[in-house]
Amino acid sequence: MNNLEIVKAGLNKRYAKERRFKFYGIFSISLSMLFLFFLLFDIGAKSIPAFTQTYINLDIEFDKKLMKLQDQDSYSEETLFSASYSKLGRNALYKLFPEVTERKQKKALRQMLSSGARYDLRDAVLENNDYVGTTQNLWVLAGDDIDAFVKGLIDRNIPEADRRVKDYQVEWVDTLEAQNKIERRFNINFFTSGDSREPEQAGILGALKGSFYTMLVTLLLSFPIAVSAAIYLEEFAPKNNWWIDIIEININNLAAVPSIVFGILGLAVYINLFGVPRSAPLVGGLVLTLMTLPTIIISTRAALKSVPPSIREAALSIGASKMQVITHHVLPLAMPGILTGSIIGMAQALGETAPLLMIGMVAFVADIPQSILDPATVLPVQVFIWSDSPERGFIALTSAAIVTLLVFLFFMNLVAIVLRKKFETRW
């Protein structure tokens, strides 16, 4: 056997190995992409039920007695606000199903309506003061079990003992459906209300506003500090100075410190030492500022570095000072890169959860925050809170909140990419 034959004998094996290796590469890429699509599809599919909500059509009798109002012709806003609305919805239901008399069934009948229905009725009366004393045909929010049933999330074929909707409730829903008195509508609540213990009343407006205020604080603090730090390190810092080396190592290391450690810093320094109010967007923003600083500093330095020396030299040669060169020429040219890095840093901050748990932003907040000092929660933390809730309806809500969060992140990244593509200059 000569050398050629030896080589030839091994060649097929080597080619097979080559093909196999190429296949592994394609396989692992496909696997990762498959996972991504599965993740997005799974969450997207789970979120769909959250975007609709079940309403029941009822003839609500705004009886003065039931509302605990005195017999008058007109009422002030305050009296109407503090009137009792809890019996109106159930009374209408009792009238619709007069055959229901047993206590347990009556309770089940009451639970067909959301406990938040009374507030909707109150708002309706406040809007139309002349409702009092009349009977109005209104659509009223259904309870979460009924909602889940109507959406098909509860299977009517499983034994009664295993499902949360009882047989008689199923019957009532069927009756209502036959009369066209039950309907699924777009869930406007989800975008206009704050958090609630009841899934059918819970919304993300509070979390959205909390995220907005937190991001505002983060942006206002981190952008100027990071850009100034980067300018100093890139343009003014003495070279080969151990001081500067320490700062640089520090920044690189901070970029890789676990986010939860920043939360502990926030708890110990901001809250316990300086007395910044807990759970407020202010302290959240302060913590996220420290987290985003390294990201923005690193990208700003890269952007400053990419401005060619010829521009600096040209400016210097006609008598500009170093500071003038930077503020008049280098910084404007580097701005697209700086903005891209900042948006990416902000996107990271928007999705951050763990450090905010440490500083009390995980508390249940039903009110919508009005300033950076009000207790608030943010979108990702809202996702975490809801995912912990046992009620069925919260799974869809959690997914819907995630979808909202991902949409925001998507747009932020899109803006960053467009900025980069549009203003990228190759010198």
Binding site: R14, F35, I247, N252, P258, V261, I264, P294, G351, F384
Partner: protein, 474 residues
């Protein structure tokens, strides 16, 4: 007057100062003898702004930071009943008093006269402090402006002064990084020392019994067994190992394929898509792990169990998969750090000079042989650095393990069991309301210290390796 209002007034004052000083400079310029200015008129304006604003701002922020603590200390020193209390009780009492102050003194809402007395005192001190603050800030601002106005002459080197101040401000910003690190060390170190004064380091690191939820009273020395953190360290390591088993081959092979085989067109599409995985918030992964992957893994375990039983195979007997398993958390975490490994490896593989590849191809080796025998060894240090960074990220990851791995401190090598991690326990211990000084809370700081030191070492090591590697081929 709130700080915000003071700030607004200061800014208005600064704007006025800017125009006044600038006008002054311009008037010299426009005067009959056409005085030549040292700097552009703007710079005189900037100088005026700096003098008006900077000292006042420094005093304002400093005062606001210490004012609360000083008032509290003064009040405590006035009342013997307060100074006799220990730290945690004192903070409770002070909080109550502050609530009374905030709700308004006119309402007699407290049943204890003492509280009201303290509240009155606090309010008196606060108003004095506010008066002093406002007075000193505005006085400084006016003095600063007068100084600037008197100081400027046509020969005054305004630009130099302004630029020098600006550079100092830039340096100050750069120092924030150091302050942050110092803050982290400060916040974990002292609490950890307090913790280790009660529980020995050895017990903490090697103890196998973790149950901090059992309240430990002061002086109850015997039950230190509740703070053995070894199961947590092990849980962290186990989940990180699973994550790396998933992420390392997937990330590395994908990176090699994209760098060496894929056409630029495919590369430009695939890489951004895979990088989406890096942009997904961790809480989303946690939700996915807890709600989809966890049940899938345990369902698969049950299926295996049935399968084993029907064929009477001993192997799967007794295989119980809890719905919160290390495997589910590790798998999802692996997918989370995969893009991280992918982009780091991609960078280092691309940095390997083409001459090495060409040499190998010229000797007749196939592409895969070139990759494994030439490119990979050359890129190895960089890849190892990337892996270390990925491990550090896996160790520090919180949300996935918090939502999918459980809180039970099991010491087990079985990935199908539920384990808990350092980060999970930190969250569990520090969320909810408890006093800051309890040993339970302190243990969270000790855990955080361990976490910080571990990731610090990994990061510095990794950055050092990557940097040396880059220098080698540059």
């Amino acid at each position: 007057m709130s700080n915000l209002e003071i700030l607004l007034i200061l800014i208005i004052a600064a704007a006025i100062a800017y125009y006044a000083t600038k006008r002054q400079a311009q008037s010299w310029q426009a005067s009959r003898d056409k005085t030549k200015l040292d700097s552009l008129p703007n710079y005189y304006g900037y100088f005026g702004t700096i003098c008006t604003l900077l000292p006042a701002l420094i005093v304002l922020s400093f005062w606001s930071f210490i004012e609360g603590n000083i008032i509290s200390a003064l009040v405590v020193s006035k009342f013997e009943r307060l100074s006799a209390l220990n730290a945690s009780d004192l903070s409770l009492v002070m909080n109550e008093i502050k609530i009374i102050v905030e709700s308004g003194l006119s309402e007699k809402n407290s049943n204890d006269l003492f509280y009201e007395k303290a509240a009155v005192l606090i309010e008196r001190y606060s108003s004095v402090s506010l008066f002093l603050k406002v007075a000193s800030v505005f006085a400084l601002s006016i003095l600063g402006f007068m100084y600037a106005y008197l100081k400027i002459t046509p020969r005054f080197k305004a630009r130099k002064k302004v630029e020098k101040t600006a550079v100092y401000l830039l340096l100050l910003s750069a120092l924030v990084a150091i302050l942050t690190t110092a803050g982290i060390i400060f916040s974990v170190l002292f609490e950890s020392i307090a913790f280790f004064s009660q529980i020995s380091i050895f017990d903490f690191v090697f103890g196998t019994h973790w149950s901090p939820q059992i309240a430990i009273r002061e002086g109850q020395v015997s039950s230190t067994g509740g703070f053995g953190a070894f199961p947590l360290f092990w849980g962290t390591i186990l989940i990180s190992i699973i994550a790396m088993i998933v992420a390392a081959p997937l990330g590395l092979i994908s990176a090699i394929y994209l760098a060496e085989y894929a056409q630029p067109k495919i590369r430009n599409v695939v890489k951004p898509i895979l990088e989406i995985l890096a942009g997904v918030p961790t809480v989303v992964y946690g939700f996915f792990a807890a709600l989809t992957v966890g049940p899938m893994v345990s369902g698969f375990g049950d299926r295996l169990n049935e399968f084993g039983m029907s064929f009477e195979i001993e192997l799967f007997a007794g295989l119980v998969v809890s719905s919160e398993s290390a495997l589910a958390a590790g798998l999802v975490m692996g997918m989370m750090i995969m893009p991280f490994i992918l982009s780091l490896s991609d960078d280092v593989i691309n940095a390997v000079p083409d001459s090495l590849r060409d040499g190998s191809i010229a000797m007749g080796s196939t592409k895969s042989e070139t990759v494994w025998k030439v490119v990979f060894p050359a890129a190895l240090p960089g890849i190892v650095g990337g892996f270390l960074l990925a491990i550090s990220r896996a160790i520090g990851e919180t949300m996935i393990v918090l939502m999918a791995a459980g809180v039970a401190a099991n010491l087990t090598a079985n990935p199908l069991n539920s384990v808990t991690t350092v980060t999970t326990q930190i969250v569990v211990l520090l969320t909810g309301d408890q006093e800051f000084d309890s040993i339970k809370t302190l243990s969270a700081f000790a855990l955080a210290l361990g976490l910080f030191v571990t990731t610090l070492i990994l990061n510095i090591l990794a950055l050092q390796i990557v940097r040396r590697y880059r220098e080698q081929y540059e």
